[in-house]
């Protein structure tokens, strides 16, 4: 088969051919210049390729990206001398609050385990609950800190908390509604989604819609509402569309989300 025919078939498979092109293919098939069985087998295979699935990326992909973006933003805001200083301080900086906090946490946990090793299941359960409480306290305290990177890390710590109490959820909702960093807000939505069955979280997420200015956060909230099937949120989105001058892609996203939720 010559290259012209190969190109024609490639165009046919992609759906690029107009009527004249399709006619040309029919003629070549009729004349036997393109093998009919080969052609149909390729056509069928091309169609079937869509069956091969791809998994979804994990949630950590998003966390890693926003953490990297935040660091880059901070770096971009610095002068050259400050950047050099950052470079030299990097090693020391890695020993800052989150790592020290983790170290303390591990030390205390080690101590508990050391003292109570061999005791019964009830005590181990108690220890596990205490660990959860400490994680929660650490998360809340870091969420209130001035560093965006630390606040992002605090949101990530929430992924290690199996069941959050109202205090932790309130802290994340407060972050979602008030944090100056868009990236921290987006990550707060991701974190809250994991407790999406909790009525308090569901209400909090719906109430957060009207408080958002950033297109990224609004889009992320729209995705969360669909994922959690929060139909009541459609009303909030409609209101947002009526009251605000939104960017074109945000408008489109909200309209499709409203349709999906209705």
């Amino acid at each position: 088969m010559n290259e012209k025919h190969e190109q024609l078939i490639a165009d046919y498979l992609k759906g690029n051919l107009d009527e004249q092109g399709k006619q040309k293919i029919e003629e070549l098939l009729a004349k036997g210049e393109i093998d009919f069985i080969d052609f149909r087998a390729m056509e069928q295979l091309y169609d079937e390729l869509k069956m091969v699935p791809v998994p979804e990326p994990g949630p950590q992909q998003s966390s890693r990206f926003y953490e990297m973006l935040e660091k880059q933003k901070q770096l971009s805001a610095l002068s050259i001398t400050e950047r050099i200083a950052v470079f030299f301080k990097k090693g020391i900086a890695q020993l800052t609050m989150p790592r020290l906090a983790y170290a303390c946490l591990l030390l205390i946990a080690g101590g508990f385990i050391g003292v109570q090793f061999g005791n019964n299941d009830e005590e181990m359960e108690q220890l596990s609950t205490q660990m959860q409480e400490m994680r929660q306290m650490m998360m809340i305290s870091m969420l209130e800190g001035p560093s965006t990177t630390d606040r992002l890390k605090a949101v990530h710590i929430s992924s290690q908390i199996t069941s959050a109490d109202d205090q932790a959820v309130s802290a994340l909702l407060f972050t979602l509604n008030n944090d100056p960093s868009i990236n921290v807000r987006v990550q707060a939505i991701e974190a809250l989604k994991r407790w999406g069955k909790d009525e308090y979280v569901r209400k909090g997420l719906i109430n957060a819609i009207a408080k958002q200015e950033s297109p990224i956060v609004i889009i992320e909230l729209a995705d969360a509402m669909i994922e959690l099937e929060l139909k009541n949120s459609a009303k909030e989105f409609k209101q947002l569309l009526e009251e605000r001058e939104l960017e074109y892609n945000v408008k489109q996203k909200l309209e499709s989300s409203i349709a999906a939720l209705s």
Binding site: L13, L45, V54, L69
Partner: protein, 179 residues
């Protein structure tokens, strides 16, 4: 992307939300490893930031993005060449060894698995044109730009890749039906 280039780095978040899944899908179809695909997606966005000044705005953004993705994949492949070669040997050993429960699966699942295996057996170069064209929906002209080739050459490559894939699928189907 123009806004990112001008210093509004937050806009990269919008691009991430829109394109992280297509990029993940591209890498996953090329390498079949979720963790590696996520690492490569991260690497693409890091490169976008690093080389944002080189973005000209001429042509589609996706063409520029997939060019970066392709380079990231090639760089990784170069670094891991030795390991990849041993993986290929393993793959070769795996060919034709159907899992024991294979006969019990229904036809559609079997066909899907054969297609997956067949795609894995294609050279990266051929697999890439199929992934970009069939799965990522890029036009032949865009693929030509990414691969620094011509539209005609891409069409020929797609045709030959599909043809080879069909041959592999036929062989695998026969092997499995013999068992």
């Amino acid at each position: 992307m123009m806004k990112v280039k001008q210093g509004d780095l937050d806009k990269l978040g919008l691009l991430f939300e829109r394109y992280n899944r297509p990029l993940f899908s591209f890498f996953y179809r090329m390498c079949k490893e979720s963790q590696l695909s996520e690492d490569l997606v991260q690497s693409v966005f890091e490169r976008m930031l690093k080389y944002r000044s080189t973005y000209s705005g001429n042509g589609a953004f996706t063409t520029w993005m997939f060019s970066i993705a392709r380079n990231a994949h090639i760089d990784h492949y170069r670094k891991q060449k030795r390991r990849a070669e041993s993986d290929e040997e393993l793959d070769e050993e795996r060919v034709g060894t159907a899992p024991p429960e294979y006969a019990e699966r229904d036809g559609k699942i079997r066909r899907k698995e054969i297609l997956e295996q067949a795609l894995d057996q294609l050279d990266d170069d051929k697999k890439e044109v199929i992934v970009l064209s069939r799965y990522e929906g890029l036009k032949y002209k865009e693929i030509a730009k990414i691969q620094d080739s011509t539209e005609g050459a891409v069409k020929v490559k797609v045709f030959r890749a599909i043809k080879e894939l069909r041959d592999i699928v036929t062989t695998l189907s026969e092997e499995y039906s013999d068992e």
